[in-house]
């Protein structure tokens, strides 16, 4: 029997705004399957985003949905989770939203290890505004504001999250669709701040400027560069050149924020 996505989609809110060939819909379907696998109640699940193409995702979800300001998802979500720790809180957004204007909120959510899951769709570009380079655009790539090639080095989102203190960090791709829900399931189950970076594609504003002839070519690239972490362990640095490691990259058990604050309450009430 085919999976019933409609159970989680808000009635009357489709079609979505995403371009043909965009991977965001694949990520959303993966997220829906993960929510279904875990049996999360829609009315007890908050989905919070910032601004951008990926950040339009919450509107399609039949949950408590909060479409905030550019980069601010993690800070709004922190307020939701602190005030109601029993809610499941999932953040979604793009690479520009999360690592540029929202970078400060992102690293501090990691540091606090607040029990939320952040799904970051990394398509290497600001899509909604027409393809300006983001902190995740590869050096040398073309964007509407790097007509001579991007001089900036790019962030490694997973390393950033690990360095900032996130206790679960995973990476997948929009090509490896069936892996997405598995990573998100594990991320949500993890107690603490979990980050799932999904390498994604933007054929409209990134692909056409960077000599990708088709969406299929962009998807094939995701397929080719991804190396599962188990396989990567057996590969040399040379073999890993230009590859991206996927799977659960980091996992650590550490006290999470709302549990720690519950102890503050206990101490204050003594």
């Amino acid at each position: 029997m085919s999976f019933d996505y409609d159970k989680y989609i808000r009635p009357g809110k489709l079609p979505h705004i995403w371009c043909p060939g965009c991977g965001h819909g694949i990520v959303m379907k993966g997220m829906i399957r993960a929510i279904d696998t875990l049996g999360l109640k829609k009315e007890e699940t908050a989905i919070v985003s910032g601004i951008g193409c990926a950040s339009r995702l919450p509107g399609y979800m039949d949950c408590c949905t909060l479409h905030t300001a550019h980069g601010r998802a993690a800070a709004f979500a922190t307020g939701v989770k602190m005030a109601k720790p029993e809610m499941n809180v999932i953040l979604v957004g793009g690479d520009g939203d999360g690592t540029a204007i929202g970078g400060n909120h992102f690293i501090h959510a990691c540091r606090r290890n607040i029990d939320m899951t952040y799904i970051i769709m990394n398509n290497n570009i600001y899509g909604m505004t027409g393809g300006q380079f983001s902190p995740c655009t590869p050096t040398g790539a073309k964007a509407s504001t790097t007509p001579y090639g991007n001089p900036d080095p790019a962030f490694d989102v997973a390393k950033l999250a690990i360095g900032a203190g996130a206790t679960f960090v995973a990476r997948g791709t929009a090509y490896h669709a069936t892996q997405i829900d598995k990573l998100i399931v594990e991320a949500i189950q993890h107690k603490g701040f979990s980050v799932v970076e999904i390498l994604d594609d933007c054929p409209t504003t990134y692909g056409r400027r960077n000599k990708f002839k088709s969406v299929i070519e962009m998807m094939n690239r995701l397929k080719e560069i991804a190396v599962p972490i188990k396989a990567a362990e057996k590969m040399s640095a040379e073999q890993l050149e230009g590859k991206v490691i996927t799977g659960v990259l980091y996992k650590e058990e550490r006290p999470h924020y709302t549990a720690e604050y519950a102890k503050v309450i206990e101490r204050a009430q003594k």
């Binding site: 808000r10 809110k13 829609k42 009315e43 007890e44 908050a46 919070v48 919450p58 509107g59 039949d62 949950c63 408590c64 949905t65 909060l66 479409h67 905030t68 300001a69 601010r72 800070a75 709004f76 979500a77 922190t78 307020g79 939701v80 989770k81 602190m82 005030a83 109601k84 029993e86 809610m87 400060n104 909120h105 690293i107 501090h108 604050y261 503050v264 309450i265 101490r267 204050a268 009430q269």
Partner: protein, 377 residues
């Protein structure tokens, strides 16, 4: 039983007022001269099972209180000038998403870092015009420690009643002075709670104007699922670009305040019955003004004081009436004419309005105002 009396600092009184109003969440960022509000909240909130969080920056603090408010909590943040500038992004969000929250902003100088942390009254325009776009504003400017407590309670009431951000803006003098305060008993001051939806989750819309200009707001995690955005939205909370609807909605959000000014605007009239010279002042400056008026009266000058308690919405009709009655209006303020401009707008040339401006980090003293009263009488 005798009432509880204390010798309290203004900022401490603001925090106590918030707790009296039922605040259970504070998100903040350290900044002088408002920090004591956060310090008291960090101490008191966990005792009642509430939550305090120190965020990574001012914007994050504002975001956290909006997020918490959407779960049904009464929420507070506190800041000062530079922080208020940063918070403007999300004050606009709270306006358009119609999310109740209270911001205590202690006025120090500016622009930018200015001269920390001397007294100032130069954030009053920022309270109304700081965030981009058309929006309503409520801003209260208390003049004593007792009033800072009471006006913070009122700020929560107005925020919940009108579903919008409300600012309490003491100047640094009021925020840092210590005075005797008599704590009201529980139930003595009115405490307004958010109107809960009267329909079930299936029929609920977060901006359903069939319930009036202030639609009931449900809470995340209470069985209701709904969408909140900073985009212009329809009744169901989803983005819309329908021209007629967007226009009507923007107007409704302004009307929430405009149609209720008599419920919101508070002021004090002192010795104005036969006054020929009126001083219009707010915050700590109004205390100097009262002293000056008393001195002027002793010297046979018919002076009076109109004290602004609610700066926004501005007491337009009261100032217009005053301008039609007195020969001169004097407007002392710790900025370069922000209140004066508003008074002139309301006076419409019916009387001369003379400002006393001070931005050197020193308070306006009674002698300065008395001198002006004698000069213009």
């Amino acid at each position: 039983m005798a009432k509880k009396v204390a010798f309290l600092q203004g900022n401490e009184a603001a925090a106590q007022g918030a707790l009296y109003a039922g605040c259970t969440f504070f998100g903040g960022y350290p900044i002088t001269p408002s920090t004591e509000v956060a310090e008291v909240m960090s101490n008191e909130l966990p005792k009642i099972g509430g939550k305090f969080i120190q965020m990574e920056d001012e914007i994050g603090a504002m975001a956290s209180v909006i997020g918490a408010s959407l779960t049904g909590a009464k929420v507070l943040t506190a800041t000062s000038g530079p922080g208020l500038s940063l918070k403007q992004e999300l004050i606009g969000y709270a306006c358009i998403a119609e999310t109740p929250c209270v911001i205590v902003n202690v006025m120090r100088g500016g622009p930018s870092t200015g001269m920390p942390t001397g007294p100032s009254q130069s954030d009053v325009m920022c309270a109304k015009w700081g965030t981009h776009g058309d929006h309503a504003a409520i801003c209260l400017t208390p003049a004593s420690v007792q009033e800072l407590f009471e006006e913070t309670v009122r700020a929560f009431n107005l925020a919940e009643k009108y579903r919008m951000p409300v600012m309490v803006m003491p100047d640094e003098i009021v925020a840092h002075m210590r005075e005797r305060i008599v704590f009201p008993e529980p139930g003595e001051l009115e405490v307004v709670n958010r109107t809960a939806p009267s329909v079930g989750p299936a029929e609920y819309k977060p901006y359903d104007t069939s319930f009036g200009d202030v639609p009931p707001l449900a809470a995340f995690g209470s069985g209701y699922k709904f969408h909140v955005t900073g985009l212009n939205k329809g009744q169901d909370g989803f983005p819309t670009t329908k021209a007629a609807w967007v226009q009507a909605e923007e107007e409704r959000q302004i009307r929430k305040v405009d149609a209720n000014v008599d419920d919101i605007v508070q002021f004090e009239e002192y010795e104005l019955a036969d006054a020929e010279v009126a001083v219009v002042a707010f915050g700590s400056t109004s205390r100097s003004a009262r002293f000056a008026v008393n001195e002027a009266r002793k010297q046979g000058i018919k002076a009076g004081l109109f004290r602004i308690k609610t700066f926004w919405p501005f007491p337009d009709k009261q100032i217009a009436a005053l301008a039609g009655k007195v020969k001169r209006i004097i407007t002392p303020e710790m900025n370069l004419g922000m209140c004066t401009g508003e008074v002139k707008r309301c006076a419409e040339g019916k009387t001369e309005v003379v400002g006393i401006f001070r931005v050197d980090g020193e308070p306006i003293n009674p002698g300065q105002i008395l001198e002006k009263i004698k000069e213009v009488k």
